[in-house]
Structures are given as structure tokens and as C-alpha cells.
């Protein structure tokens, strides 16, 4: 039995919250058990103690302990909620790594094209954004050493933020029951210092990156037939909107609303194109649900994200 390592500043903050909760709980428990022990000894039926008169105006006592409880709880609520909201705030310039779960393994895809099964490598002191999705049932990506976990849903992208300052190797667990070999859906997270991480990336270097592989798939599935892409890309903007500079830009929809084209939007637009139609375009795009796998989607999305806005487009409103 070893004490659980705390491999991030956030983990140590969570530990402070847990220690405080423990302290408060022990105090309350001591109060309840202590009073109980004192009363059952003092007031046992044959103790012969003069009980005196019973308290009157008991509602004052009731109001007092109700108010004290409420106040204490409110403080604990604020503390916990503050940590939680901060953990989910997007960080600037993150290292984005894709995690694809399936029964019963974790597939990790790095921006440089490196791939791993049941192992994740991240550098120290760098914000890491994990984009989680599942090919079948709901899984959960949990790393106790970082005190974080997040359910991994089929057909959706969920983000999990990590930033570690302690090199080492830590447990990765699937925390959501996912079928027969749920207990075997485990792996490791290895944290390395910056230079070590670069060496690791190079020694595991894939020949081409995700963007290049994505471009190949973009051609293979005929996306360019309708979508204009890049400076040299084919297609037009007649049947389908341009993808240049699409990533993280606002997209006006046919129902009058506007969405930001994040990973989830691009993902869903490929699988379920009828759900969010770009304003002034006809809903002619076929669904690629069941045609393109989650792994291929990661690459195509990486490619779409790489498409810079055209100079001419950027200057016209």
C-alpha cells in the first residue's frame, strides 16, 4: 500500500480539499459519537441522576444548528465548485492529443502521427488537452495521480485538461463499466521532461503527421469534390461552404444561430451533416456515419484544422 502520488498542482489542490473535508467530517463525527456516548452513560435508566426540567423554546436550537449546517455546506460547495470550474477552463496553446476508446483498449494519437495503445506520454509543465471519444460504449478516462477523470462517449468529443509537473509513470483506468473486460482496460500515463519527451517523440516518430494522413483521406473520401480547401485545393463554394480558416471561427447556421467550429462541430458535421446546416446552403451532404472510423476522423479533423484562411477571404467580410 503506497500513498497515491499527486503529479500535478491541481492534484495537490484537490488533496487540500479532501484533507479539509476529512478534518470537518472527523470533527462532526466526534461531536455526534461523543455526545451519544456521554448521553447514554449519563442518562441510562438506572443512573439515578436528577434530569431537571426539559428545555423549552427548542425552535431556537433547531434554527441554530440548521443555520450552522447550511453555512458550513455552502463554504464547501464554493470550494469544490471553484476547483471544478477552473479545471475545465480552456488553456491557450495546448498540446492536443486524441484518445479513442473501444472495448477494451485505449488508442492514443499524437499530432505528429505517433500512435500508442494503452499508453499516454506527455511532457511536464505543458497544458495538454485530451480529446476523448469512443467507438462503442461509454468509457471513462481516469488518472488517479492527476485526480481527474472524464466519461468518454460514443459520437461525441469531450475535453480533459492535464498539466503535470512530476515525471513518472502513473495508472490509467477505465472508470465507467464498459462490458466484459472493463477491468483490463487499464494503461499508463508517462510524464517526461521536455527534452526527454522530444527524444521520445523522435524515436517513435511516424513518417508522416496526422495532417498529411488526413489530407490523403480527404481525397480518398471525395470531400474536395464539394468543399474548397486550402490555396491549392479543388472544389468551389457553390454546393458546400469553404473549409479555409474554418477551425475556431463562427459559423452562421440556417436556423439563424451561430456556432463555433470546434473539434466537436467538425466531427458531428461529418457524421451527422443534416443536424447543423450552414446558412444559405442546401442539405445535400451525405452522412459518413459508419463509413469513416473515429481514427480516420481524427486525421481528417487534423487536416481541416490545418487549413489556413485565404488572404483574400480574410480581407472581405
Amino acid at each position: 500500500m503506497t500513498l497515491l502520488p499527486a503529479a500535478s498542482a491541481y492534484a495537490r489542490e484537490v488533496d487540500w480539499l479532501l484533507v479539509s473535508l476529512l478534518g470537518i467530517s472527523l470533527l462532526v463525527l466526534a461531536l455526534v459519537l461523543g455526545l451519544m456516548a456521554v448521553y447514554v452513560v449519563r442518562y441510562r435508566y438506572d443512573s439515578g441522576l436528577d434530569r431537571g426540567a426539559l428545555a423549552t423554546k427548542t425552535w431556537r436550537i433547531e434554527v441554530a444548528w440548521t443555520a450552522a449546517t447550511l453555512l458550513g455546506f455552502f463554504g464547501l460547495f464554493i470550494w469544490g465548485a471553484n476547483l471544478f470550474v477552473r479545471m475545465y477552463q480552456p488553456k491557450s496553446d495546448p498540446l492536443t492529443i486524441n484518445v479513442i476508446a473501444k472495448q477494451w483498449m485505449w488508442k492514443i494519437e499524437y499530432p505528429g502521427g505517433q500512435r500508442e495503445i494503452n499508453a499516454l506520454h506527455i511532457p511536464t509543465d505543458r497544458d495538454v488537452q485530451l480529446l476523448l471519444t469512443s467507438e462503442d460504449v461509454i468509457h471513462d478516462f481516469g488518472v488517479p495521480a492527476f485526480r481527474v477523470k472524464r466519461d468518454v462517449l460514443p459520437g461525441r468529443y469531450e475535453a480533459l485538461w492535464l498539466r503535470s509537473d512530476r515525471p513518472g509513470t502513473y495508472h490509467l483506468f477505465c472508470d465507467q463499466f464498459c462490458g466484459t473486460d472493463h477491468a483490463s482496460m487499464v494503461g499508463t500515463v508517462t510524464v517526461m521532461s521536455g527534452p526527454d519527451y522530444q527524444k521520445w517523440l523522435e524515436s517513435n516518430g511516424a513518417s508522416v503527421g496526422l495532417v498529411v494522413e488526413g489530407h490523403t483521406l480527404f481525397i480518398k473520401y471525395g470531400c474536395g469534390g464539394c468543399h474548397q480547401n486550402g490555396l491549392s485545393g479543388g472544389g468551389g463554394t457553390v454546393r458546400a461552404p469553404s473549409l479555409n480558416g474554418l477551425y475556431n471561427s463562427p459559423v452562421p447556421l440556417s436556423d439563424g444561430s451561430t456556432v463555433i467550429a470546434d473539434d466537436r462541430y467538425i466531427h458531428d458535421s461529418i457524421l451527422y451533416p443534416q443536424q447543423q446546416i450552414v446558412a444559405s446552403y442546401a442539405p445535400v451532404m451525405p452522412s459518413f456515419n459508419g463509413v469513416i472510423s473515429e481514427e480516420e476522423l481524427v486525421k481528417i479533423i487534423a487536416y481541416v484544422k490545418s487549413l489556413a484562411p485565404r488572404v483574400a477571404e480574410a480581407s472581405t467580410p
Binding site: 472524464r150 462517449l153 463499466f177 487499464v186
Partner: protein
């Protein structure tokens, strides 16, 4: 349970046990007391079946690679344990047995408002139970008792459809029982039994019944949608068919969180009765305890989202559900303080029911305090789906709730059977259950903090020490749970015959003979005293 052993125990008067002796007179009875005994027999069987599954799981977890079964069997074991214990023991337990037996007696009524519906509830319960058991034993189910989609609709092996049908049927039984209690408490109170003279057990049972009636239909809907998706492949939950997997979790927890209070509210009621009776003192803060039951029932409908803090729901909904979850804990804290206030200046007796009730306060306080950890967002993200959660809800649903059940069972045992249970054995079992339970489940809090996930049939080696501790504790707990089964069965045949009111307690149920005659009271009682009226020594001198 055989009536034969009770025959002739009290030849001086007729009672509901000796009135008729044929098997048919039991299986077709509309007497709430006999139906309560039918339920006692059923839930005892379910409890030990679910317990056997748990014992096998604890045995398997002695070694990191799993001592006796493979992953698939382990998954079926914990699904069986959860399904049986939740729907066929914890949800019905106290209301259908103790509640069924004492509700009409406590309000001076002849029976429940709808005696035939009461019998129908038992048949629905048994039909649901047997259908579910067929599924669980024929091939098993490997979804967990939570049936998360799309695992349960597209990927699960086994008899999911059959087990869901069993659960739906038992849900109808719950709704009928809840309706029966609500109408009974409204319409059949004896003259003078005003709402603020109602025993606190009935306030809690009333609150429970409201949840039965309002929440259970949502469970039935969720289960029916699972069946539709499994059989007709309509896309409700599976994203591959255009559905939303989180929708199921919303529906499921909209029932299943209030269901936690279905399990524990009747326990609060029992403990309020027992603490007062064995302190020989009026309860402290009657109205606060009564209304805290009602407010728990109301707020419990608005906290389901705390099961989904890491599920992918919106950040802000999680913040709101966290706040509401802290608020729902306030009425529970009020109850604990009021029970302590009742002990203060009382005349405390240490009979077995009182020891169980004091054990309840200890275990419930620990379960409640650890609830604060998982209500707090930052802490929950780490503890979610680990053994910490397993320990937390077992402290409430097993430690506290089963202690309350035993407190009530021993307290009303003389009334139900006309026999006294062996006092010393009762006290030994109460103490053993308290320590056995803590030894089993306390190590799981630490396991959870260390990160061990739930529902793992094998685990990393560093978790072994705590798992072995927990498994050792579970053997003590198993013996402690078998003890009452043994000595209570013995007392059915050999126990000393019980007087009408062995505890010198207030309450109408103690004013009729033990066991009661079939019609409960020879004439309708009239209530003139405030609730739990135990005169103080100084008052006694003046009278």
C-alpha cells in the same frame, strides 16, 4: 415461516395467526398483517441471495488477479447483487414489511385502504422477482444494475430484456404500495389522530410513498425504452442510431436518486420510534423531524445530476446540482441532531432495538459525511466511480438501512409474532453488525481515494492489502447477518410469550394484544395524548 409453531402460544385469545390455518388462507389473505409476513419471507430470501453474490465477489477480490471467477462471471455477480439488493430488498424492505404491519395499527385502523390491491402488490412483486431471477440465473446480465446505454442496448450479452421486465413489474408493485399508504394515512386515521399526533414512522412512510408514486413511473419508462431499442432498434439512446446515451442517465437517475431516499426514509422513521421508546422520553423536535422527511422527499427529485458530474453534462448544471446536493443533506443533519436531543435527559434502556438504532446513527453519520465529499465537485471528480462511492452508499443503504430494519424488526417482533426474541443474542448481533460492517467497508474509502475503480474483477497489486481487510470484515458481517435469522427463527417456536406492550411504549399498536386479532382493535381507539407522551418524573408525582 410456519404458523404451526405459533399455534396455541396464546390460547387465551384468537389472533391473526391462528384464525385460519390453510395454505389458501395465507396466499389469498387480504389481512395487512399476513401480507406483511408473506413479504418478510420473500425479502429475506432475496436478501440472502444478493448477499451470497456479494460474498463470492469479496472472495474473488482476495487476490489481484481474481481468486475464483473470470471477468465475465464477476460482472454477472455484481449485476445480480445490485439488481436483487436494490429492487427486491432495499426499495421494498421496510415499507412492505414493517410498514404494512404497523401502519393500520398505528392509526387505529382495521386494515389498509385497499386490502386487495395490497395482496396484488405482493403478487406483482413476486412475479417481477421470479422473472428477474430466471434471467439472472439462466444466463445472467453483465450491465451492472445501472443498465447504462448503449452498453445495455447494443453490446450486452445475457438476459437484459427479461431482467428489465422483472424490474418494471416490481415497479408497479411499488406504485400500488405507495398509493395504498397515502390513501390509508389520509383517510383511515382514528378519531383524535391529527397529523401532528401521527407517529414519525408514518410521516417518513408518507414521504416514501410520494416518491414511490412519482419517481417509479420514470424508471418504467427508461426500462421500456431500453426494451424498444434492444428489440426494434429505435434510436433513443445509441448514437449510432441517432440517439443520446446521456438521456438514459438522466431518466435513470431521476428515479434512482429519489430511490436512495425510498430506501433510507423509512429507516429514519423506525429510528425515531425506537430512540424515543427506549429513552422513555418525548421526541425532541417532532415537527422538525416530520417536515425534514417531507423536504427530503421534495429536494431528492432535484439532485439526480450529481451522478453525472463527469458524464459530459454542462459545467453549470453540475454547479447547480452540487449546491442542491449539499442542501438535501441539511434535513438529514437536522434529524441526527434531534435524535441526540432526544437522548439528552432521557431514561435510556439498552435493548437490542436501541443498540441497532444507535448503530444506525453512527453508520448514517459516516455515510452522510462522506456524501459531502462526493457532493463537492472538485473532490467528486477524483472519487467518482471508485470504491469511495461504493463505501459511501453502502454505509447509507446497507449499514444504516439494514440496521434500521433490524431495529424495527426487533422492536415490533413481540407484536408481530407474540414471542420475545432472546435479548442477549439480539445485543450481540447488533454490536457484531456494527463492527463487521465498518471492517468491511471502511477500507473501501481508502481504496477509493487511492484510485481503485468500481466493478473490477481484478486489480493492481498495491490495492491488495485493503481488499483483503475488506474481505475479512465481510465474513464477520455475514455471520452477524445470519445470527438474527437463527435466533429469530428459534424464538418463533421457543421464545417467551410477549405481553401487549413489552417496552412500555406509547403508540396505538401497543394498546392491542400481541399478536393482534385479525380486526386489530376490538373497538376503534380514540387518541387524546400528544405524540410520544412519556410523563416526566415530576409529572408522575403530581398525577
Amino acid at each position: 415461516m410456519s404458523a404451526a409453531g405459533l399455534v396455541g402460544l396464546d390460547a387465551a385469545h384468537d389472533n391473526y395467526l391462528t384464525d385460519e390455518k390453510t395454505i389458501g388462507s395465507w396466499l389469498l389473505t387480504t389481512d395487512h398483517k399476513r401480507i406483511a409476513l408473506l413479504y418478510f419471507a420473500s425479502i429475506t430470501a432475496f436478501f440472502f441471495l444478493g448477499g451470497a453474490a456479494a460474498a463470492l465477489m469479496r472472495l474473488n477480490l482476495l487476490t489481484p488477479n481474481g481468486l475464483i471467477v473470470d471477468h465475465e462471471t464477476y460482472n454477472r455477480l455484481f449485476t445480480m447483487h445490485g439488481v436483487i439488493m436494490v429492487w427486491f430488498f432495499l426499495v421494498p424492505a421496510i415499507p412492505v414489511t414493517l410498514g404494512n404491519f404497523v401502519t393500520p395499527l398505528m392509526i387505529g385502523a382495521r386494515d389498509l385502504a385497499f386490502p386487495r390491491i395490497n395482496l396484488m402488490s405482493w403478487y406483482l412483486f413476486m412475479a417481477g422477482g421470479i422473472i428477474a431471477l430466471v434471467g439472472l440465473f439462466a444466463g445472467g446480465v453483465d450491465t451492472g444494475w445501472t443498465f447504462y446505454t448503449p452498453l445495455s442496448t447494443q453490446y450486452a450479452k445475457g438476459y437484459v430484456t427479461l431482467v428489465c421486465c422483472g424490474i418494471i413489474l416490481s415497479g408497479y408493485s411499488s406504485i400500488a404500495t405507495g398509493l395504498n399508504f397515502i390513501v390509508t394515512i389520509h383517510k383511515l386515521r382514528a378519531p383524535g389522530m391529527t397529523w401532528y399526533r401521527l407517529p414519525l414512522f408514518l410521516w417518513s412512510l408518507y414521504a416514501t410513498s410520494v416518491i414511490y408514486v412519482l419517481a417509479t413511473p420514470v424508471l418504467a419508462m427508461a426500462m421500456v425504452l431500453i426494451l424498444f431499442e434492444r428489440i426494434f432498434r429505435v434510436g433513443v439512446f445509441d448514437p449510432a442510431l441517432g440517439g443520446d446515451p446521456l438521456l438514459f442517465q438522466h431518466l435513470f437517475w431521476f428515479y434512482s436518486h429519489p430511490a436512495v431516499y425510498i430506501m433510507i426514509l423509512p429507516g429514519f422513521g423506525v429510528v425515531s420510534e425506537v430512540i424515543t421508546a427506549f429513552s422513555r422520553k418525548s421526541i425532541f423536535g417532532y415537527r422538525f423531524i416530520a417536515w425534514s422527511s417531507v423536504s427530503i422527499a421534495v429536494i431528492s427529485f432535484f439532485v439526480w445530476g450529481h451522478h453525472m458530474f463527469v458524464a459530459g453534462t454542462s459545467l453549470y448544471s453540475s454547479v447547480v446540482f452540487s449546491l442542491l446536493s449539499f442542501i438535501v443533506a441539511v434535513p438529514s443533519a437536522i434529524k441526527v441532531f434531534n435524535w441526540l436531543g432526544t437522548l439528552h435527559k432521557g431514561f435510556i434502556h439498552f435493548n437490542a432495538p436501541m443498540l441497532y438504532a444507535l448503530g444506525f446513527i453512527g453508520l448514517f453519520t459516516m455515510g452522510g459525511l462522506t456524501g459531502l465529499f462526493v457532493a463537492s465537485l472538485g473532490a467528486d471528480v477524483h472519487l467518482h466511480d471508485t470504491y469511495f462511492v461504493v463505501a459511501h452508499f453502502h454505509y447509507i443503504m446497507v449499514g444504516a438501512m439494514v440496521s434500521a430494519f433490524f431495529a424495527g424488526l426487533h422492536y415490533w417482533w413481540p407484536k408481530i409474532t407474540g414471542r420475545m426474541y432472546p435479548e442477549v443474542w439480539g445485543q450481540i448481533a447488533a454490536v457484531m453488525i456494527f463492527f463487521g460492517f465498518n471492517l468491511t467497508f471502511f477500507p473501501q474509502f481508502i481504496l477509493g481515494y487511492e484510485g481503485m475503480p468500481r466493478r473490477y474483477g481484478s486489480y493492481a497489486p498495491e490495492y491488495q492489502v485493503l481488499n483483503v481487510l475488506s474481505s475479512c470484515g465481510s465474513t464477520i458481517l455475514a455471520v452477524a447477518y445470519l445470527l438474527p435469522l437463527t435466533y429469530l427463527t428459534w424464538s418463533l417456536f421457543r421464545g417467551a410469550s410477549a405481553p401487549a406492550n413489552p417496552w412500555a411504549a406509547t403508540g396505538l399498536e401497543w394498546q392491542t394484544q400481541s399478536p393482534p386479532r385479525t380486526e386489530n382493535f376490538s373497538s376503534t381507539p380514540v387518541v387524546t395524548d400528544p405524540p410520544y407522551y412519556y410523563p416526566r418524573p415530576e409529572e408522575r408525582q403530581h398525577v
